[in-house]
Amino acid sequence: MMAARFLLRRAVPAMRQARCYADAPGASAQMSFTFASPTEVFFQGASVKQIDVPTLTGAFGILPAHVPTLQVLRPGVVTVFSDDGSSKKFFVSSGSVTVNADSSVQLLAEEACPLDSLDLATAKANLEKAQADMVGASDEASRAEVQISIEANEAIVKALE
């Protein structure tokens, strides 16, 4: 009796395996999107429709089967449009984006956070402080640091408005 039940249980998974899922339509038309910062993973191997990224050479959008490229990010907003039409915005400070030949995209940001966790007033205050520091900055290195801070804060303010 027990043996029969055992055999029956073993038979059922075999039947389930005979019914497979259909293959994902045209795997190369899907984009495997990985978006991570050193401390947090936002997307891993996700399938999304489009991604808008701000790079040093300008902002561009990545769709599946985009031509392979490497780019470096500038402070700005990354918008991810998922398959169901909704979009998510993130603010990234810097980093790199890689589009490979098999349509996989790796977006690695040094620091990234969802846009709604940023506060406009604090960003404006930081921007003013950075612009004030620019006047006082004397040598190359500190001038470059203040310049970076100004760029980042400007981008935050622009994104939130």
Partner: protein
Amino acid sequence: MFARSSAAVFLPQCGQVRNMATLKDITIRLKSVKNIQKITKSMKMVAAAKYSRAERSLKPARVYGTGALALYEKADIKAPEDKNKHLIIGVSSDRGLCGAIHSSVAKTIKGEIAKLTGAGKEVMVVNIGDKLRGLLYRTHGKHILINCKEVGRKPPTFADASIIATELLNSGYEFDQGSIIYNRFRSVISYKTDEKPLFSMETVANSENMGIYDDIDADVLRNYQEFALVNVIYFGLKESTTSEQSARMTAMDSASKNASEMIDKLTLTFNRTRQAVITKELIEIISGAAAL
């Protein structure tokens, strides 16, 4: 003569014929082993807490690191064989008592140096962690480029990795290719010494598959490479710290177990010695009384 008379004076205080431990010696030893067991137990707890924190932060770091290395795998970038300048980054830490963590990395580095110098290439090593420096500087001192200290005290951050990368790029050593040797974390009880490749800008730019990547100029590529270098170092640091904490946990656990065994054995010896001393005193009293 002098020796015999001093032996005659000291004999009653030794309790046994052989120069075995007295009750006092055993008590001292027992107390010290008990203290050591307390210390190793607490070290194990501390390592367990640090390990769970490190493992939690390893998950996103792993995704990040594999993302950073994905380009090299997918574009199948290989350095040409005739390039001469190599770089090895060894990731370890400052603190010991963690099993074979430091020695396994050092062994791999020594093997690599031997292989590369045998093939006539120039090798330089970046040591992350003081222990690695101690293991390498005596025999391979002239290959050491940079030493990093104060590693392992606090969990590694992206900023640490970028400091190391900046130092490396500022050192002026133009390497053609290299590898980072670190301990990859497999599970709480196991880790494996692993190697991931590093490439220089020229190697990547001249690689045949890079042609399919569109619209890349030298500036962008250099920024990309520098960022990738920091990412790989960060990945190695995170994996290494997790492996190190888990290895320290295991090592301290077995040390505590060994200490418990020693305590058991010493306690038995102590009881046996105590009973022997009592028996001897009884015999002396009885034979003394019988002599009267």
